[in-house]
């Protein structure tokens, strides 16, 4: 298991920190690690948790601002169908295809339930 730039976990030490070899951005799970966690959840029979961790693996590469913008758009009556489609496309652009599909699915449900913003 490594940090995003490939530093092995065993080398995340105080010595390395003192030497300035690692910085804060390094301290997070890689998409590969999150996919591995999804696999662990799947083998334990926890399919929705596995699906969520797969979305997390995709979102690990998505910038913070986009993450928060998509969350806001998914809140009730914040976005039109076209806007949600646009956010889905942006996610796809970052390789987050499963999450993009999830957003499109939300758009359909919102359309049925009157939860889209007035276009």
């Amino acid at each position: 298991m490594t940090t995003p730039s490939g530093v092995p976990l065993t080398e995340v030490t105080l010595d390395a920190l003192r030497a300035g070899k690692i910085d804060g951005d390094e301290i997070r799970a890689t998409p590969a690690t999150l996919r591995l966690q999804a696999e662990v959840a799947r083998s334990a029979g926890r399919l929705p948790l596995a699906a969520s961790l797969e979305r997390a693996a995709e979102l690990a590469a998505v910038p913070d601002e986009l993450l928060l913008a998509v969350y806001t758009a998914l809140r009730p009556r914040r976005a039109t169908r076209a806007e949600l489609e646009n956010w889905a496309a942006r996610l796809t652009g970052h390789g987050a295809t499963k999450t993009a599909a999830f957003v499109r699915e939300a758009a359909s449900a919102y359309a049925q339930r009157g939860l889209l913003a007035d276009g």
Binding site: V12, G24, Q37, L47, P48, E58, A109
Partner: protein
């Protein structure tokens, strides 16, 4: 007419609460509401056509989400075909495993889940919860906040919580901009108390995510869901937005737990006429479908509303069971104040406390409840000894460890010093030595020196703007010589890289090992299986700081000057004016004072005074063959020329007896020895003499303290053990004389 007993009861704290009868139209019904739909699942061409009374076209967002992401059609037909009673039976049957029940739950609709839970009674629910909990061992979560948002006090309280064994610690803010500072204090304090404790700062989602990205927090349970569409939407979310947010948190290495609970829909005005438990079943189905590893439920902030209804406590336990059945980690409430009544509050707690849940409370207030800015504090700092004692009483691990005062003071000071160092190193407004001292020893935030709050919030903004991270905190600790704390904070950063704690019901041990339902699952299947409080952990949880070694209490008293001397075996007297004072085998020997701490020579002097004052003659004998006060007195009476004796056990219990009565009968019994004074013993002597002289005797007025037994029963047992150790079976009574005249301790024989 009015009853003064009703009036007295009406003044009890319980009666500050309003109890109401069910009102299903407003959702004021705990479970099995008259309008709850019958369980229904119709699948056509692989798609759900009807669910719990609704056709697909009418599905609301919760139905749609559960159908799309939760309901497992591969098992639904099999599971839905099982009768409610049969499923209920399986929940408590020890030969039906948790994995099998979890498998079936994936195919059950919310209405079915709620109906099955509704078939279980209180004890069955507890057994089901014990069986269905996700993680092998229960644990607990703490709240750490204070009104002044004092960083030194937050750090000290977090350290105490961690040292006491809480696996998670949650803080929040009074003023939103404080969030980074509070999160920082919690991180440093918690890792000082015990490495591996997870922390969160409950704030608005964007801010929360920011703290997570910086590595200042490791979990979030702010993701609320509701059981009806209008309430969900009023909460400004949908199942999709919450599920997205959950994945977003996980992508930043944050353990995610959703929050739901009975009563919220009624409180928010859109229960749609359905019962609290049914609506919670819908919440939990959505939580599972959203891919949350767990849930904080158990009514949480609405607990007092649910408790206003019949079956409310049972429904809350039911929702915990339901969450566990759905394979979710459960942080089981008991945080918001449930009742003004300590009895009622504790009775409610037992539903989670005895079976054990993943987190028995979702926030035990480590500080006094008036410093709890969550509005929590159902159990708080002042209740900890009760909690520990109840764990010890039941031999149950509810996640809090006893810690000696010295050790807690050490840990609290170390944490306050550590946050002082981190603030200095990171250029934050300084934490003074006076703050460190007050945080270490103080009771609450009122004792904390005031800080420049404007400077603090500016510094908090700056902290985020500078991008200070968990690594910077570790480095700051390291530079200031806090090596262990630096390593612990860094270890939490490593945890974020490996992300094992994203699995169900994960907690982190002090050695950094993650324990979750994956690698340490609950496999309870009856006596001798699953988590049992035994061995070293049981030793730890029974060794409360206030526990006393009875061997020390039971030791021999220091020998002093002899009080009495023995003058040979006793024979029956023939003086009709004599009253025998018959003392127990250890009297004035290995026991030298009563349980009320009256010296035996003074007690004898008072009794003899009393006897003489009524014109009778005291005669002292020691009964050696028996330690029971009735037999001591009766043996004495049979030696007495008047047939009357006052029997006296060494601890001070006394009986006036007459030779012709059955041993276990008596003239007067004085069983409240802790309450007696020398004047009491003088009065007993007067009465004994009165009987001997054939006078009319009114019984000595006695006081009654029904708590004396609870307070002194251990001491009584130990004293009595010493009395029985002095018994010599078959030995005759012996005559006693006072060894030396006692300087009168008696104020006045005429009193």
């Amino acid at each position: 007419m009015a009853s003064r007993r009703f009036a007295s009861r009406a003044r009890r704290p319980l009666h500050r609460e309003l109890l109401v009868s069910p009102y299903p139209e407003l959702g004021l019904v705990a479970s099995d509401g008259p309008s709850d739909p019958l369980p229904e699942l119709v699948v056509e061409n692989g798609a759900v056509a009807r669910l719990d009374g609704r056709a697909a076209a009418d599905f609301d967002i919760i139905d749609r989400f559960v159908v799309a992401h939760g309901l497992d059609l591969g098992v639904a037909e099999e599971a839905m075909a099982i009768a409610d009673e049969e499923l209920a039976h399986m929940l408590v049957a020890l030969d039906v495993s948790r994995p099998e029940l979890v498998r079936l739950a994936r195919g059950l609709t919310p209405a079915k889940l709620a109906r099955v839970i509704g078939r279980l009674d209180a004890v069955e629910l507890m057994l089901a919860l014990k069986k269905l909990r996700a993680r092998r061992a229960p644990s607990n979560q703490a709240h750490v906040t204070n009104l002044k948002e004092s960083p030194a006090l937050l750090a000290a309280d977090a350290a105490e919580a961690a040292r006491r064994g809480f696996a998670e610690i949650e803080t929040t803010v009074g003023v939103a901009r404080y969030a980074p500072l509070n999160a920082l204090a919690l991180l440093v304090g918690s890792q000082t108390g015990r490495p591996g404790v997870m922390t969160q700062c409950a704030v608005e989602e964007r801010r929360n995510l920011e703290l997570a990205i910086r590595g200042l927090v490791t979990y979030a349970e702010t993701l609320s869901v509701y059981g009806t569409e209008p309430v969900f939407v009023d909460g400004d979310d949908t199942p999709w937005s919450k599920a997205f947010l959950g994945a977003a948190y996980a992508s930043r290495g944050v353990k995610v737990r959703f929050t739901s609970g009975t009563g919220s829909e009624a409180l928010m005005g859109y229960a749609q006429g359905q019962s609290m438990l049914y609506l919670e079943a819908r919440c939990l189905a959505a939580v599972r479908a959203a891919g949350s590893q767990g849930v904080q439920n158990g009514s949480i902030s609405c607990v007092a509303l649910v408790l206003s209804l019949p079956g409310g406590t049972r429904a809350i336990l039911g929702e915990n069971v339901l969450a566990a059945w759905l394979d979710l980690e459960v942080a089981s409430g008991n945080d918001a104040i449930a009742s003004h009544s300590e009895i009622r509050k504790t009775a409610k707690l037992m539903g989670q406390f005895l079976p054990g849940t993943d987190f028995v409370t979702s926030g035990y207030s480590v500080m006094p409840r008036h410093d709890n800015t969550f509005g929590g504090g159902n159990f708080d700092a002042d209740d900890i000894d009760e909690w520990l004692t109840i764990q010890r009483d039941w031999q149950v691990d509810a996640g809090i460890e006893p810690v000696a005062e010295d050790e807690l003071l050490r840990v609290r000071e170390q944490a306050a010093r550590a946050i002082q160092a981190v603030f200095a190193e990171l250029g934050l407004p300084s934490v003074t030595d006076a703050e460190v001292v007050a945080a270490t020893t103080g009771y609450d935030s009122s004792e904390m020196p005031d800080r420049d709050r404007a400077a603090d919030v500016e510094a908090a903004d700056d902290l985020l703007a500078r991008g200070v991270s968990g690594l910077d905190v570790a480095l700051a600790l390291d530079r200031r010589g806090f090596a262990d704390e630096a390593e612990a904070v860094l270890s939490m950063q490593r945890q974020r890289v490996s992300a094992d704690y994203l699995q169900t019901a994960a907690v982190i041990a002090a050695d950094g090992v993650v324990h979750s339902a994956v690698n340490d699952p609950n496999e309870y299947s009856g006596p001798g299986t699953g988590y049992r409080l035994e061995g070293a952990r049981w030793e730890l949880l029974q060794a409360l700081p206030n526990v006393v070694d009875p061997a020390l209490l039971a030791g021999m008293e220091e020998a002093g000057e002899p009080i009495v001397v023995e003058r040979g075996e006793s024979a029956r007297g023939d003086d009709p004016t004599e009253v025998v004072v018959a003392v127990g085998p250890a009297f004035a020997d290995t026991i030298r004072a009563t349980i009320a701490d009256l010296p035996h020579q003074s007690v004898l002097a008072a009794i003899c005074d009393g006897i003489r004052s009524e014109g009778a003659m005291p005669r002292l004998v020691r009964i050696r063959r028996v330690a029971d006060v009735a037999f001591i007195a009766h043996d004495g009476a049979r030696l007495s020329g008047s047939g009357i004796a006052l029997g006296l056990q060494s601890k001070g219990t006394a009986v006036i007896h007459r030779a012709d009565l059955e041993p276990l009968d008596n003239l007067e019994l004085f069983g409240m020895s802790p309450l007696y004074t020398l004047e009491s013993y003088r009065a007993m002597g007067r009465n004994a003499a009165g009987y001997a002289r054939g006078k009319r005797v009114g019984p000595v007025p006695t006081e009654l303290d029904n708590f004396a037994r609870a307070k002194l029963i251990v001491t009584t047992t130990l004293l009595h053990a010493r009395e029985t150790q002095a018994v010599r079976g078959g030995a005759a009574a012996v005559e006693l004389e006072l060894a030396a005249p006692v300087a009168s301790t008696v104020a006045s024989t005429q009193a």
